[in-house]
């Protein structure tokens, strides 16, 4: 079952959902609206290889905005730290974002229960689109789990900004 906005507020107050900073006005019927942070990552490696640490640069989005060209792929961050030890979060674009042709994730919408931190947004523009720091860009919904909960303890825990893929760190170990 998916939580309603009203239930999300109750669980934020009760501490079962953490959203920092939290603003009542950004609750929607079934989700909470998330803002884009101010940092972006652009990979500078010509070819990406999950076995090798990628090269990248970190940039600030100017207050006056930044244009992503069609085909651009950048990693962004949510301004909010989000997580729950009781519910499973799923990230979505705001429909207004999607209507501009901008993806906010690349088939990786599911957050592990127990994760807490900023979400890394996988920004992919299918049309030229201007983005601004702190604009409302995405939304998070919360889903009730069934079964005993074992919390996430992975390599992206407590992310405080956009995090590039750390696939290379355990590629050899997990792919045995």
């Amino acid at each position: 079952m998916i939580l309603t906005g009203y239930k999300i507020i109750k669980e934020v107050k009760g501490g079962k959902i953490k959203i920092t900073p939290f603003d009542h006005n950004r609750i929607t019927t079934n989700s909470y609206d998330l803002r884009l942070g101010s940092k972006l990552i652009r990979y500078t490696s010509k070819t990406l290889d999950p076995k090798i640490k990628p090269d990248f640069k970190i940039m600030d989005i100017p207050k006056s905005g930044m244009i992503m060209q069609a085909g651009d792929f950048l990693l962004g961050e949510t301004e909010e730290m989000v997580g729950s030890d009781s519910y499973v979060p799923i990230i979505h674009a705001k429909s207004g974002t999607a209507r501009m042709g901008l993806f906010v994730h690349v088939t990786a919408d599911l957050i592990d229960i127990g994760y807490y931190g900023k979400f890394t947004l996988q920004l992919f523009a299918t049309l030229p689109v201007k983005i601004y720091p702190y604009m409302l860009i995405a939304q998070v919904s919360f889903w009730q789990p069934k079964g005993k909960i074992v919390l996430y303890k992975g390599k992206y825990q407590n992310s405080d900004g956009p995090k590039p893929s750390m696939c290379y760190k355990d590629f050899g170990k997990i792919n045995k």
């Binding site: 070819t47 990406l48 690349v106 599911l110 789990p145 069934k146 005993k148 696939c167 590629f171 997990i174």
Partner: protein, 174 residues
């Protein structure tokens, strides 16, 4: 409701979820990590309104996916459930590298059991390896009586291109 990793394992032992081959280390807090199979199909050309794909065996040394192309792959594992609906996505570690594992078709129907076809789209040139852990599947409880899916793809175990043209002909005949 979405099943937790612990519950996925319990239901696997009961036979309500099937994953073969299965490794306990591939269980996540609320999903299971699946692997990429050993072959992919590379889009070659568009002829008479139909996409033609070429089969490629992914070398152990890796295969480079190019942006702007679409590739069909499959899961290394047979995955299915007679009791739960499924959602198949990529791992966040692959999403962060700009690799789509499906093209807005994440839903897996209750009662299907097969090697799933993946739709790989790369936003940057990226290397893939046979049998690498590449995505995740989650399991969801149903509400209502389960009516068996009679879909064309439910028992297919190789990267399978779309049958959609055939569907259109069927439709036109009616």
């Amino acid at each position: 409701m979405i099943l937790t990793g612990d519950y996925i394992f319990k239901e696997l032992l009961k036979g309500n979820i099937s994953i073969y081959p299965f490794k306990r280390s591939q269980i996540n807090p609320n999903s299971y990590n699946y692997r990429l199979g050993k072959t992919i199909k590379v889009f070659d050309k568009f002829v008479n309104g139909k996409s033609v794909f070429k089969k490629v065996v992914i070398p152990e040394s890796g295969y480079l996916l190019e942006p702007g192309k679409m590739y069909l792959g499959n899961t290394y594992e047979f995955i299915g459930s007679k009791k739960y609906a499924m959602s198949l996505i990529g791992r966040s570690s692959m999403g962060r590298l700009g690799l789509f594992l499906q093209v807005s078709a994440n839903l897996g129907h209750t009662t299907s059991y097969h090697k799933w076809t993946l739709e790989l789209v790369a936003l940057k040139p990226i290397k893939i390896y046979p049998k690498m852990i590449i995505g995740q599947i989650s399991f969801w409880t149903n509400f209502g009586r389960i009516y068996k899916y009679g879909g064309r793809y439910a028992k297919i175990n190789k990267p399978q291109e779309s049958f959609i043209n055939i569907n259109i002909h069927d439709f036109n005949r009616v």
